[in-house]
Symmetry: D2
Subunit: 424 residues, 4 copies
Amino acid sequence: MIDQTIIDKDNEARRAALAADYDALGASLDRRGIDIAAITAKVTAYGVAVPSWGVGTGGTRFARFPGAGEPRHIFDKLDDCGVIQQLGRATPSVSLHIPWDKEDPADLRAKAEEVGLTFDAMNSNTFQDQEGQAHSYKFGSLSHNDAATRAQAVEHNLECIEIGQAIGSRALTVWVGDGSNFPGQTNLTGQFERYLDAMRQIYAGLPDDWRLFSEHKMYEPAFYSTVVQDWGTNYLIAKELGEKAFCLVDLGHHAPNVNIEMIVARLIQFGKLGGFHFNDSKYGDDDLDTGSIDPFRLFLVFNELVAAESVEGFDPAHMLDQSHNVTDPIESLISSASEVRRAYAQALLVDRESLAGYQGDNDALMSAATLKAGFRTDVEPILAMARLGAGGAIDPIAAYRASGYRARVGEERPAVSGAGGGIV
Amino acid sequence: MIDQTIIDKDNEARRAALAADYDALGASLDRRGIDIAAITAKVTAYGVAVPSWGVGTGGTRFARFPGAGEPRHIFDKLDDCGVIQQLGRATPSVSLHIPWDKEDPADLRAKAEEVGLTFDAMNSNTFQDQEGQAHSYKFGSLSHNDAATRAQAVEHNLECIEIGQAIGSRALTVWVGDGSNFPGQTNLTGQFERYLDAMRQIYAGLPDDWRLFSEHKMYEPAFYSTVVQDWGTNYLIAKELGEKAFCLVDLGHHAPNVNIEMIVARLIQFGKLGGFHFNDSKYGDDDLDTGSIDPFRLFLVFNELVAAESVEGFDPAHMLDQSHNVTDPIESLISSASEVRRAYAQALLVDRESLAGYQGDNDALMSAATLKAGFRTDVEPILAMARLGAGGAIDPIAAYRASGYRARVGEERPAVSGAGGGIV
Amino acid sequence: MIDQTIIDKDNEARRAALAADYDALGASLDRRGIDIAAITAKVTAYGVAVPSWGVGTGGTRFARFPGAGEPRHIFDKLDDCGVIQQLGRATPSVSLHIPWDKEDPADLRAKAEEVGLTFDAMNSNTFQDQEGQAHSYKFGSLSHNDAATRAQAVEHNLECIEIGQAIGSRALTVWVGDGSNFPGQTNLTGQFERYLDAMRQIYAGLPDDWRLFSEHKMYEPAFYSTVVQDWGTNYLIAKELGEKAFCLVDLGHHAPNVNIEMIVARLIQFGKLGGFHFNDSKYGDDDLDTGSIDPFRLFLVFNELVAAESVEGFDPAHMLDQSHNVTDPIESLISSASEVRRAYAQALLVDRESLAGYQGDNDALMSAATLKAGFRTDVEPILAMARLGAGGAIDPIAAYRASGYRARVGEERPAVSGAGGGIV
Amino acid sequence: MIDQTIIDKDNEARRAALAADYDALGASLDRRGIDIAAITAKVTAYGVAVPSWGVGTGGTRFARFPGAGEPRHIFDKLDDCGVIQQLGRATPSVSLHIPWDKEDPADLRAKAEEVGLTFDAMNSNTFQDQEGQAHSYKFGSLSHNDAATRAQAVEHNLECIEIGQAIGSRALTVWVGDGSNFPGQTNLTGQFERYLDAMRQIYAGLPDDWRLFSEHKMYEPAFYSTVVQDWGTNYLIAKELGEKAFCLVDLGHHAPNVNIEMIVARLIQFGKLGGFHFNDSKYGDDDLDTGSIDPFRLFLVFNELVAAESVEGFDPAHMLDQSHNVTDPIESLISSASEVRRAYAQALLVDRESLAGYQGDNDALMSAATLKAGFRTDVEPILAMARLGAGGAIDPIAAYRASGYRARVGEERPAVSGAGGGIV
């Protein structure tokens, strides 16, 4: 963790400017009938989970270029996640990935407690083969032709639940890459039937207070068809399985030009929105930093979420899921969590009564302007004040760099070879 | 109609070559264990409906360039459709569009009988305002904010059913352009609720032996959101409405890169595939001639349909829906119907037993090759023989041109001004 | 025009709040080392042209739903454009479209002077047939197979230059829809050769102080191929023609996911960026209001423009080009011009020295953050102050609505029938 | 290599059926005025290069699932390539990738001669870091901010030329992944200037009888911008460099919906088409087997190539570039080479005189039908006869499986661990 005096010192230098900006914004919002303190309070209470794998440098099939101080195991990763939360105060929990993070649950709990974190949804992995595994997932996992392979994949998911129960998780996220690379390679219907059958077995093992999230994705690693290719299929899955099954939306998993906020609205309306994997993308599942490519799209998603806040039992899971190829992952996760909060804060500013009025009058221009007034507002002072109020840093990137954390772990953790990738 | 002697004469010149090609193909298929006569019989029995509006020249928002002899009304249109069927023998029915084709049902039936046609699904129109209409559809129809506008749209659909009953139709296709052009213009959820409510009223008026088809479309004429934007929403509609409600798939209404045959497979699997609007597209809802851009995609759709032929009660509706901007619409519809049959014939040739075997063995290469062996086969002799056997033309375009039909109606029907379009 | 006292009264009610917001922003920018007065001055000096056709309600091939007080001719249109400029002070010039706006040049100049406007680039039209035209453009214009048709299209463009010279224009914009709807319909190379040959004839008639802008578009109205399909082909044209030929970029004319700001950067680098047609789009050439769908993308384009401001002779033309289907076109054009200015103002705020430093250090996170700091800033007070300072309205939409202008012209100008479109 | 008696035996069983099919096709083509022997001769003479890396199993950033008998080094790879050529007779040359294939040139030549192959274009690699490399390519190579890194990348390319000269290659293909993952991360113009500067140094080292191919790609591994993002930029590069510089087109490197055959036509027209990387794709750079997803698109590309055959000096390079994730790479490369030949044969069948006539008459329907008549023809007998005539296998996949080659090398070459990938 970072020495608090470093954070305090950095905050001190920025406190006056922040106060001035915050007061000016407060006065301006007050003229719009909005209480800045109430917004700040909601933002402070909002958290988004960090994926354990996100603190390692990502890569592509062409190459991976590791940075200094790459985490060696889940305990290093939890250290890094602790720093992210210490500075940004927006990421109170971590989402584990099994088997990558498989360790003694007691040790995991102790470490999480030490760094001030809890555990979010569990993530299973049947898209890779592990050393010594009996059956290969080369041709699929939960939807594989072979019953033994499917059983192995089901068993792995049940184990994830078991581990999750031991560490206080309450949800399992299932993403599979099953699909095909050639028209004809698989029977599209038969493959989905096998998938549903396997998922029913996992669902049967789900504790009563757990939720099961299935995740759709248009393509990659399968390049002709993917068994859970879109929200339509994802909805069918959640519906087939039962009340504890929900759909997870990763912002980068859709076809070009798709209106994602409509998908979010439909899943909310039919009671099946489970949660999000936040990131941004320009082309495919690019896993770029949240809000870096199309911040207005992120705002439009949060516009649907804020509009649904009053829906009974509405409680989607929020998680970052990004690949940090050219940045320090800690910095990217701190700033991405802040971008998620930014969209949330902007959506909270929307005058929903006026908006509904304009919509009712078919006043397209004023409806759009009313919505955009939220987006247009620079809420950075609110985000900074929320961090500061919770003990974090006004400028968490600056404080992080001042701390020398990366250099320190760079010394402790052995350098990773530059080789890697090369799967063209 | 065209003088049969013209057709016969044209056929005579081509009969020997066709026989040679057909025999050679028969011998080759026989070596693959396929009986060409059985395939020809199935192709002969297969028909696809023609849309009444398809025989007029289409256009874009920029311009429309009419051809000679544009049909003036539904009776001219039925004449043209009669010629299409006379030559191609693949299009035994016509799909009407109300109010464009609204005439005395008895006259419609008489004319259809005269030209040897029956009536397929009825199509309502709430995407345009008609002269003297009480409420405008500028801001929507079935999902409009205003109850009176919705009621007017419902009423129109019920009238379509009424007309359809009088002429022997058995289905209503509902496509609406309702949506929005700005984020915020409409409440996405409220709009869909209103749509569902209106559709329930239409469904309540549906005769027991009718089917209701809802059609999804990603965009256009609405350019930010469309209320029935994809198959996921379309499925929800069919499910909400009941057993007589089904989803209609227009091949040009999807996001870029979407795997359409998977959508077809899913809708079949969950009992909600209602039928098709066939056309082809490279960019958006281009409404190009079927099979002109991506014939393999069309084949893959038919591969799913043939695989499902044995499913109890499986009987999707097949219709062409194209915009003929640069061709004689009669020629385009004849050749497009032939393309649909081509894909059907190729799909019938697939050795499904071998395919299932290779799929079960995860033999991706041979699975793909087995499927493609159907597509690769030049089935033109089968299509021509099916036409000839049913009284049509071996080369229907050549026979049509020899007939001078277009020049003849060009004289009878007044020329339409070159102006038009200009809605930039 | 609108009574100035109405504008003054509306401004009076908003003056104090604006002053407070402007001062607070000024103080905050001052802390970032930015002089708000300098930014406001640059914004005040920035203008974007309005297209004459933009003040009429747009539509799609399916329908057009006119509003009240549709302009009947170019003089009505100039009245509307005068109001847009009076209130927004961001649109000092109008771009004419021939033959739609063809009138006596002296009358056009007099009217423009009356409403305080000048004339921007001329726009030719060879994508429609006009009454009494000798040769049809159904199969192309500048690239048509037939030499007489090409000559007619060239002649029309030369006439546009002639009219433009008489009214003080200095540029000709050429957009053609020439292309094909079927693979094989046209010889792709031959068609482009004919296009180039025709453009050379137009270029030969260009006055020395004029510029020729060619515009690329991926598709529509042609749906398989378009002769000027992308910036690559557009660059070849400008290069072939000569020093006075440049490429015009319409933001909605690209393939999905394309990085438009890179295209802008490349054209600047190679001296061939002619200017812009601003609008926004989610799917295709949707012609939505500028900044309504992806405001960050617009900012990124302006980031390139501001970075190139110091390039010798760099002076691209800026024009709005939108289709207003569901709003009052006057309101959309006022607010869209404001969105263009917003992006410009935000781009002016970018700390380019810091940005270059971070880029040089491969500090991806801080580079991105530095760029986004400009976008994140709410520059509305600057935009409002620029309007106010130039004699316009702090809130131009409110002032416009208070003026009753639309109701007034609704009485003067005959209502247009609700019918239209219907080119499915 | 495979024992020729195995091939002969397999051929014997298929010879009679092939003769019957070939004769029937010959008769049918003769009725169309086409001499089948002439077509077969052209197909026989046509070859496409195999990439050395293509014989290893590919993968994604998620995982790689190796098969049995993975080649360990370039000599194993050349053995596999030899088998591909022995059976298919369509792939007489191999394209090397440095440093992966770096060995003593004399040994490379000897091995190639032994297996009956020659060497095609050289491929450099600056998208990965190699063990012991002085400067990392994490932030770019030829366009890197740092001069020393750029010099290292230039030097590597010059070394590729040197190796290539020693083994009889005549071309260098340069593909770089340089770009950025964030708006702002890089100065788009500066980056391209640095790229051009580095390429000029490579070009300066190019022997007089060599060609330099630059390859564009829309995205991946960079996910916001890529320095050579499309053919427009690629054309600028080839033009800037000089007469020996050409553009290479990989079929999977374009934006969704882009008309690739138009790009091919433009590059031919302006003398800058260097060659192809053949593969197929549904979503992005999927690197699927050629012709597996959209065979008509491949045909349309070959339609342009055949139309340009008579152009003086027209001699583009043809290479396969695929990732074989779920098949035996040898089988995929044999069948993909056959698909390339299939498209070539079909394009040769097009009646170009009739086509030009219909195009001149604006007869869109018959133009399209004339083109498609080539595609529709089942040319498999021609392909098989070409293989047989050159000493290969009628059914090369069957002969390959009968040979037991994979099992044999599976014993000789050590199994590769199932682990790998895992760069999420």
